[in-house]
């Protein structure tokens, strides 16, 4: 019994254990439900899974199923980011316990209620459990913004290296606060249409209505909601990496206002989609440019720091270009998190801007199905890329060192980028190949994408098995981690 309670305490009460539990669950869900679509369906694996698990997949409910699946995965990721935030920022212990427990119960209710409801036949109590879970997560978010409220004396910054107001309030904390507050408001834009479900509002996937000339208020609300939630998850991830990298100095002072204003403007832009769809896009471009500039400054800071440390370790005062690159790439995890942010520009931001600029000239001349392929690929890449960044951070504080760290880090970078690159070519294929002769390109990009994602899932599975086996050890890593905080760079406050 004690054996079990000790492990339970680690997995559900410590920050590192909660994150491990959440990653394990999201991995299992992604692996299982990922087998129901795309190439897996093509190869017949979907049929086997559906039969083996007695799933009840009603065709008319596919969109609803996907929405519940996306929410289940997103809620776990939001929980992971929340665990990280309350550990990285100074938060009162009782509030930390309250936030972590609420959000954990919340996401468990979401997946235990939502997924059976969506995939195994409608049981309305399960749907109620799903909704209750979402409500708990919202409540945890409310508690979070209270807990990290930046305008408290005890949170004032004392170190001038970190961005702060004249009165000493931490701009980084304000950035976290702005992101969290914007997330809560944006959640309402999904909750309101959801509450009208069946009363004049029906489920739909946003990529399915892009060409509809007239959209209802509730449609627009959902479209704004999903765009901003994904963007805010990415901004939260960038802020978490700021803490991990101990981002400070002049670049920090420049970046934090950009992050704050960027998050708020971006969020307001997506809210404006409801009343002023056309103008909203300009506001969104403005907000995302600011947030991306903030992230760019983080990248510059991080790379300079990694090069400086790398060169110093080798006793080199001022290295040449190649020594600099070697120093930068010395640690694939610390290099990888910001490299992925740079890579995001090629596969997500760059593609998005190009499509927006050439929309009427190129993409709206194509059939809708080809445009939908871009939209779906676009946000799948953004979501997965953000997940790889969080995984790198996890691998670091899970204690991955030496060759294992090198292998894990480089496999994650190379193979995930291979997959994202291949998917980008796939989704944009009509630019380079006509429909009649597309098959070889599809085969190659699909193969590369599958190899990339397969390798990423494989090393993730290896890490999970390693941590699972560790739980069976009396003095495993878990025992040490049960009381450990995430980061050595604590927020410097009074």
């Amino acid at each position: 019994m004690r054996w079990l309670s000790e492990r339970f305490r680690f997995l559900f009460r410590s920050t590192k254990g909660l994150i491990l539990t959440a990653i394990a669950l999201v991995s299992l869900i992604s692996a299982l439900f990922g087998m129901l679509s795309g190439p897996m369906a093509e190869w017949g694996i979907k049929d086997v899974i559906v039969r083996a698990l007695h799933m009840n997949l009603v065709e008319a409910e596919r969109e609803g199923r996907l929405i519940i699946l996306y929410h289940s995965i997103a809620m776990i990721v939001i929980a992971i980011e929340t665990y990280m935030i309350v550990d990285l920022l100074k938060v009162k212990d009782n509030l930390k316990v309250m936030i972590n427990s609420t959000i954990t119960i919340g996401y468990l209710a979401v997946i235990l209620g939502g997924l059976p409801f969506a995939y195994w036949g409608h049981s309305w109590p399960l749907h109620g459990l799903y909704i209750a879970g979402l409500a708990l997560i919202f409540f945890a978010g409310c508690t979070l913004i209270y807990a990290i409220w930046p305008w408290r004396e005890e949170f004032k910054v004392t170190d001038n290296e970190y961005a702060h107001t004249r009165k000493g309030y931490s701009l980084e904390r304000i950035a976290f606060f702005a992101m969290a507050a914007a997330t809560l408001i944006s959640a309402l834009f999904g909750a309101v249409p959801g509450s009208y479900y069946g009363n004049g509002f029906e489920t739909f996937l946003a990529e399915n209505v892009v060409r509809e000339p007239v959209k209802t208020v509730l449609d627009l609300s959902v479209i704004g909601h999903l765009h901003i939630m994904l963007a805010l998850i990415a901004i939260a991830c960038a802020l978490i990496i700021c803490r991990w990298m101990d981002f400070k100095g002049i670049l920090h002072k420049l970046a934090m206002p950009l992050m704050i204003v960027g998050s708020l403007v971006l969020a307001m832009g997506t809210w404006l989609v409801v009343p002023f769809e056309t103008a909203a896009h300009i506001v969104i471009y403005g907000g995302s440019t600011l947030a991306m500039l903030g992230a760019l400054l983080l990248v510059i800071f991080s790379w300079r720091k990694l090069i400086r440390i790398g060169l110093a370790e080798k006793g080199i005062k001022k290295g040449n270009f190649f020594q600099g690159v070697a120093a930068l790439c010395r640690d694939p995890l610390k290099f990888g998190v910001t490299w992925q942010m740079v890579f995001m520009n090629f596969t997500v931001s760059g593609v998005g801007i190009f499509v927006a600029v050439k929309l009427d000239e190129i993409f709206r001349v194509w059939q809708y199905m080809d445009e939908r392929s871009i939209l779906t690929g676009h946000w799948h890449i953004l979501a997965t890329l953000t997940a790889t960044i969080l995984l790198m951070y996890y691998a670091d504080f899970a204690g991955l060192i030496g060759k294992a760290r090198q292998w894990f880090g480089w496999i994650l970078i190379i193979f995930s980028d291979l997959a994202f690159g291949a998917v980008t070519v796939y989704e944009m294929r009509r630019l380079i190949v006509a429909e009649a002769v597309q098959q070889p390109l599809i085969n190659t990009t699909t193969l590369l994408g599958d190899i990339g994602l397969g390798a990423v899932l494989l090393i993730l599975a290896v890490i999970m098995v390693w941590r699972l086996l560790d739980l069976f050890k009396k003095k495993g890593r878990w025992r040490k981690e049960a009381d450990e905080k995430l980061e050595i760079f604590e927020e410097v406050t009074k």
């Binding site: 000339p213 001349v365 059939q367 429909e435 009649a436 002769v437």
Partner: protein, 302 residues
């Protein structure tokens, strides 16, 4: 050595991505036994429309073609219409006059002015027709396959030439679904031998080379072709290929947009796109090897 292997493998992938596709690779020839000149009557009355089963009704009987228009049928039309001057050859395409649409200034709406518009391209290898300079004929092996590489103007011109018209989306949907709420024309579930879709493993498909190709119209009728057993996949009113094979242009012209809508899914999309309510759309000049059409008519000639 390792680096060399990686470089070689990468090169191999790139080369395989660029390899040419033989669009004229031989295809089996099957007589499906379904007459592409046949029509069925869809009776007036209520039906369930869309994914969420909205109540709808069509208050007149109408007829629809049992199959998509075939390459042979379209070639016959081109020859007749070319001869009487209804259509013309304009550079590398066949074109015909269209009276234009009302422009309403919708977001992303493009004006469709009165003028000549493309029916089919002549210089696209994916076209399953031959043009001798005077007459059109269906390419060998492809006569009873659905006519593809045809624009919305081309589909409309064909139907109107014979005094028919393209079906509206609602007419199309009722013809595919009947009066219940089935997601597929034949029922609730989809098997690979129900329809031609991406990786449905029909005898015309080779995903390692040219990919998915059209199947002859009415192919999925329960017959066995060289050992390949199909399921009888007609709609409740007896229409074939209402899911898969090729998207089908419909006739509606909507306010605030210039897009024309297609229904039914195609050989190039995953199974979920074959559900009856799924819509595709494109500009009316769009042509594709996965887009065809069929016509509708009413007794009064409407």
């Amino acid at each position: 050595m390792k680096k060399m292997m990686i470089a070689l493998l990468s090169l191999l992938f790139l080369i395989s991505a660029c390899q040419p596709v033989d669009l004229n690779a031989p295809a089996p020839v099957y007589n499906t036994g379904i007459d592409p000149d046949s029509w069925v009557t869809i009776p007036a009355g209520p039906f369930l429309h869309g994914q969420f089963d909205e109540a709808a009704s069509i208050d007149y009987d109408y007829e629809m073609m049992v199959t998509d228009v075939t390459n042979a049928q379209y070639a016959e039309f081109l020859n007749a219409a070319l001869a009487d001057g209804t259509i013309k050859i304009a550079g590398n395409e066949v074109a015909a006059y269209y009276a234009g649409d009302e422009f309403n200034g919708g977001r992303h709406e493009e004006s469709i002015e009165a003028g000549d518009y493309i029916l089919i391209p002549l210089d696209d290898e994916a076209l399953r027709l031959d043009y001798s300079g005077e007459t059109f004929s269906a390419k060998e092996d492809w006569a009873n396959h659905p006519m593809t590489m045809v624009s919305w103007f081309g589909a409309k011109a064909y139907c109107e030439y014979y005094g028919w018209r393209l079906p509206s989306e609602l007419e199309w949907e009722k013809a595919a679904r009947g009066e219940d709420n089935r997601p597929y024309p034949w029922g609730d579930t989809l098997a690979r031998n129900n329809a031609n879709y991406l990786s449905s493993r029909d005898p015309f498909e080779d995903m390692s080379t040219f990919g998915s190709r059209t199947t002859p119209v009415g192919f999925y009728n329960g017959n066995t072709y060289d050992g390949y057993q199909t399921l009888d996949s007609a709609s409740p009113y007896g229409l074939y290929d209402m899911a898969g094979n090729v998207w089908q242009w419909t006739g509606d012209v909507y306010e605030l947009q210039h897009y024309r809508y297609m229904r039914g899914g195609s050989k190039n999309v995953y199974d979920n796109n074959l559900r009856i309510w799924v819509r595709n759309n494109a500009t009316p000049t769009f042509v594709s090897p996965a887009v065809g059409f069929r016509c509708a008519r009413q007794e009064n000639g409407g």
